[in-house]
Symmetry: C2
């Protein structure tokens, strides 16, 4: 509780500031607006812009365009980035992107329409423009897109003293770097030394003697998801990127990897819920509708299949109308059990904890859990149905149907995502819709089929 | 597709290695087992142990206990950590924990039973034991538990040269550090300098002149979720931790924050699915049942409420049996729309993109989307029902019911998690079960109520 109270207090402070900012915007009071906005971190400015309604956002940008720098653009959610860039004078955009590292410029460019891209490329200095265009030549979602090209390297024969002298003389060091990468004469990385080691070793120590065991490289064409997994799995802080010939072309740092991990989590969560990947809380009504309609449409089709199954048993239902009242129980239990099994499977596939090595064991486990939970609820529900309707056979029917439904739910929840993964599709796409429909169809069939045999 | 093929290839390599390891375990071939295990990273050894079935795991540990070091224990999922520690000789455990930083020892201890904790505390040197016990005095899930106590500090008046000389002479520097923290005479942190800056500045430069703007501190009692959010939001790489008096007591590094972020994602995902927080793919049948049964039990109760609503309309259903076949369509559309709305809301609350500043705008958006999607599907489904059953009034009933259901689903999906958040509960706990039951109950009531009025 204390934790949440603290957050609520912060929320209130935040709400007060937002109110003051909106007030300054309405009053057109640039001085007061600047006073309120200037102390904010770029990430907080971006959040503020995302949370405002579009009308207020335009008004704020018109008053305070000079305050939007490269860091703010870089932090903005893609869903409103284009809108913000369009609202800014060209000179402000040009100034903003010139201060960014190339990886951040690439990140901004990726989501823009061609004309927006041109506007930004034109603003860059020639060397940066070339670097950005080279990065864009790598496939979307690859390590080559994610990396920064600014690297700190040293010939493999250097000493600590050589490295320190070089760093002191160097201009234009990257904003962030955590290792000195050792390269051979053909620019192939052969190891790296943490800055902590460089600082704590004597000047005459060879860099080669203090390299890290954790050294790994990634290929520029590797998918960013694999790179993020590697950072998380092996606790990397930065990782050199090599081209097809094994030559150093850039470096990826942990903050970029953390971002990718966060995005992949979001993607899994939204896909499981049947919401388009790129949904954002900042989207308008139209974009939100577009993201959700396709899955609802699929759901309408699959629900009609379940309806057709039920329709086959109309004669039974007409005879024993209480069956219609019990149907939602079969559907709810099946749906919930399927969601449980499915979510655990999708998560375990994403973290690579579910592999060929343990798939069968997990399938057997799900089967056992489905059977045991099914029997437990069968007894409870059969008892309840008997108590409510006084008909022991109705209790037997709902009980047996629950056992079958929970077994199907548990199995479908693991087998469908595993199969999708093997076939090269994202298991999160198996989403509620398919697995739950499958469970519903078999559950209704079992329930009404048993009822037909046992009650009529 | 290429991405997934690459992963499948890796999976096959992985499966081959696992098979070879199991074979060596069965044959009791220690030499071959060591040859296969030794090249693996500690994180991969831990994954392997998690993926094996319990019987094979015990056999492997009996053969190869000496190979389990502190890093492996540290990487193990909590669900099998206790089992592994119990299986190891005391001397191996003692040796393993002695090599770890205090934050990793704390992380291991947290999840153990008291006797397991004693075994590990006894193995530590006195100074480390005191440090670990001090960390355990902070509340669970706080920054104090997450931080490492090994810090690299410098008096605020030092120069770059002073810092380098100190680091060269220092013994026992932490494994990882990214900043030199400047402290005042009372040990209050006043700024920090990145190692890159220390390395690239001249010896006579004052550290105070090259501190970072990003400098922030956290309090040892702050919840770890807030700390992880801060790292992600402000791109921190390390962050000093202070006590109630503002004095430096430790430092948190980005890899720990990344871990917390990952765990919080997992928690949200599992809670949304109604699976206990601490479910793991390595759990056995019994633990899995225990994690899932409570939510299924709640779901059984709420499903019975929906059943009671339907039971009120038995007379109507007896007259127009096709209503029973159409009920699953109302339930499926409502359930899917509610899941969409709910998932987007829970995610946005977790990333703090949904706040008091935009809550009403998002609620209005959900309402509009619910209405528009409802109308779209009402037209389609009303047409389909008319075409199938030739009864225009049945089409009108299902159409109107879908509009009401989708509006309720969209609203419940946002209002319930917002309300839980305001009341200080985790919004992910609003889970499918509550929101979907609410939608079902109102959807069935609308559908069958309209049918009663319009058809009978």
């Amino acid at each position: 509780m204390d934790e949440n109270l603290a957050i609520m207090d912060e929320d209130e402070v935040h709400a007060d500031r937002v109110a003051a900012i909106l007030h300054a915007v309405e009053a057109g009071d640039i001085g007061r607006l600047t006073g309120l906005m200037a102390p904010l971190h770029a990430a907080d400015v971006a959040d503020l812009l995302e949370q405002m309604d579009p009308h207020d956002r335009r008004a704020l940008l018109a008053l305070w365009s000079g305050g939007i720098d490269g860091d703010v653009l870089s932090e903005l959610d893609w869903s409103i980035r284009e809108e913000v860039i369009d609202a800014l004078p060209d000179a402000v955009v040009a100034e903003a992107v010139r201060t960014l590292d190339t990886d951040d410029v690439v990140d901004i460019l990726e989501d823009l329409e061609p004309e927006g891209q041109e506007k930004i490329l034109d603003a860059l200095e020639v060397a940066d423009r070339v670097a950005v265009e080279q990065a864009l030549a790598f496939p979307e979602g690859s390590a080559g897109r994610l990396m920064q090209r600014e690297v700190v390297i040293a010939p493999e024969h250097w000493t600590v003293g050589d490295a320190i002298d070089y760093l002191r003389a160097a201009e234009n060091l990257p904003d962030q770097f955590y290792h000195v990468i050792l390269v051979d004469p053909r620019m192939k990385p052969v190891g790296y030394v943490t800055l902590g080691r460089v600082l704590s070793a004597r000047r005459d120590v060879a860099l080669r003697a203090i390299t890290e065991d954790s050294f790994r490289t990634v290929s520029a064409t590797d998918p960013e998801g694999d790179v993020a997994y590697m950072f998380n799995q092996y606790h990397l802080i930065s990782c050199p990127v090599v081209d097809a010939g094994g030559r150093l072309v850039g470096v990826i740092t942990i903050d970029d990897a953390m971002n990718v991990l966060d995005e992949e989590h979001e993607e899994d969560l939204l896909r499981l819920a049947g919401v388009g990947d790129e949904s954002s809380i900042a989207d308008g009504v139209w974009d939100t509708m577009k993201a959700r309609l396709p899955w609802l449409a699929i759901s309408l089709v699959t629900a009609n299949i379940a309806a057709l199954v039920v329709a086959q048993f109309e004669a039974t239902i007409a005879q024993v109308v209480v069956l219609a009242a019990l149907m939602p129980i079969v559907a709810a239990m099946g749906g919930n059990a399927a969601t449980q099994s499915l979510t655990v499977a999708v998560r375990a596939l994403a973290t690579r904890d579910l592999t060929g090595a343990n798939a069968w064991r997990v399938v057997r486990r799900e089967l056992a859990v489905g059977l045991l939970n099914g029997m437990a609820f069968a007894i409870v529900m059969a008892g309840a149905a008997y108590a409510l309707f006084g008909a022991p056979m109705i209790g037997a029917v709902i009980g047996l149907a629950l056992i079958i439904t929970l077994i199907v739910a548990a199995l479908a929840g693991i087998v469908v995502p595993l199969a999708l993964d093997r076939l090269g599709f994202d298991p999160a796409l198996s989403s509620g819709t398919f697995v739950i429909t499958l469970t519903d169809v078999i559950g209704f069939f079992a329930f009404l089929g048993l009822a037909t045999v046992m009650l009529t």
